[in-house]
Assembly symmetry: C2
Homo-oligomer: 253 residues x 2
Amino acid sequence: MLTKQELEEFSAEANLLYLDHISIDCVVFGFHEGQMKVLMLKSKNEAGWQLPGGFVKKEEPIDVAATRILATRTGIDEIFLKQFHVFGDADRNRQHNEMYNKVVAPEKNFFSHRFISIGYYALVDFIDVNPTPDAFSELCTWRDLDDLPPFLLDHEQIFKTALDTLRLQLNYQPIGYNLMPKEFTMPELQKLYETILGTKLDRRNFQRRMLGFGILNKLEATRKGGAHKAPYLYSFDLDNYQAALKEGLKSGW
Amino acid sequence: MLTKQELEEFSAEANLLYLDHISIDCVVFGFHEGQMKVLMLKSKNEAGWQLPGGFVKKEEPIDVAATRILATRTGIDEIFLKQFHVFGDADRNRQHNEMYNKVVAPEKNFFSHRFISIGYYALVDFIDVNPTPDAFSELCTWRDLDDLPPFLLDHEQIFKTALDTLRLQLNYQPIGYNLMPKEFTMPELQKLYETILGTKLDRRNFQRRMLGFGILNKLEATRKGGAHKAPYLYSFDLDNYQAALKEGLKSGW
DNA sequence: CCAAAAGTGTTCAGCTTACACCCATGA
DNA sequence: TCATGGGTGTAAGCTGAACACTTTTGG
């Protein structure tokens, strides 16, 4: 449990360092052993979990702030990030305040201010991440998408909005480069799409479609060790992938 | 030109009334006589035009703030609004500051603070709008999309991002209800799509596709007065339109 | 050699695309 | 009556969905 003194010290520093009223919350998606995962923090002070977040320094661009925040939580410096929504209800941190105001006088507590939060989602390669808790959390760890803990504040809404956004993006942007390891098999990539979408896809149609995008390189090697026919390995063709990111996969009109 | 005193008075009030560091900028699209238009304000103090914008009151949800800001600029209370991006570079209001700091001491000037701006776009029926300038503008008026004036600050980027977003939305959401009058002809609706997209579309395919969405009611009447065959009038089927807004027009996966 | 996973191929329906044709209207 | 815009129709081609067959692997 955080002490009153620790909170007051943090608040004094935060007032000097950060822009008031603006926060950033991040939904970090990872994928490992056929499971989609989110990075979450278990609060020291409250019974519940939060998304990794932080504040914006007085002279810092918001994208830089988001990158910095996630670098300290994951150890990754270059991270794929996208802002997706702003959460600006007047009482989104009421739950927080009721708890904090018992410990620290509101005027000495940075957290009791109203914050408008910019939501970012991140896609990372699971194995690159070194989950590191912040001063207000006792634990930072991956949580399976189908086994999520109770969220604090409006973080469940933030998470759900991020997932909805990711599902939409899937339709007109390539996804996978940031979530998959360097080399992977087609069934593994399919599993990623299936867990994001929450549906089963046809193996053969998926393969044709993916290859049709022209963003994959088929490698010589196969993944041995499975109990059955060894699938081919693929890697992303980074040039074509980047191009597809910009132009989109298919227009519509 | 605004006086020093006016600025100081506004700043003193703004500090009490508004959240610091957060602003809202709106891209209001309208459509009239085959032309796509944006609502813009001509600055009193600088040579250039701005998008309508404002600040968030201390206890006000951001969506309410955006609605309030646009209500005072347009006279419309119920306005179709969507947040689309946050603009948070550290120096986005540098241009502003250099000008303002000559007039008012920075510590007495709300505008010289750093602002992170939440971008909203709005779709409105042209004829409902009563353009009303704010205290810092000498003029509020529609500007044609293909005849835009020089923008102040980063408002050109905000505008372009809004237009890009609108073009994307077109692919999976119905657009038109908020931009068209109650009754309209198919060629008129097509003109809207063409100006948003910046391309020509096939008359017959457009009609089939639009009707295929099931969001239009064909009316008995026709639009007389044109020099040629009178086109049928249509109205939007609001129920189906709303449903399409939620579910999207076509998935993809 | 067999079960299960993976690679490859084919068919069919529905949609998009690109046109042709006819009708109504005011000049 | 004729030029023009608007309504309706249709054939060709592409794409996604559904499904069959073959190949490879470890047990």
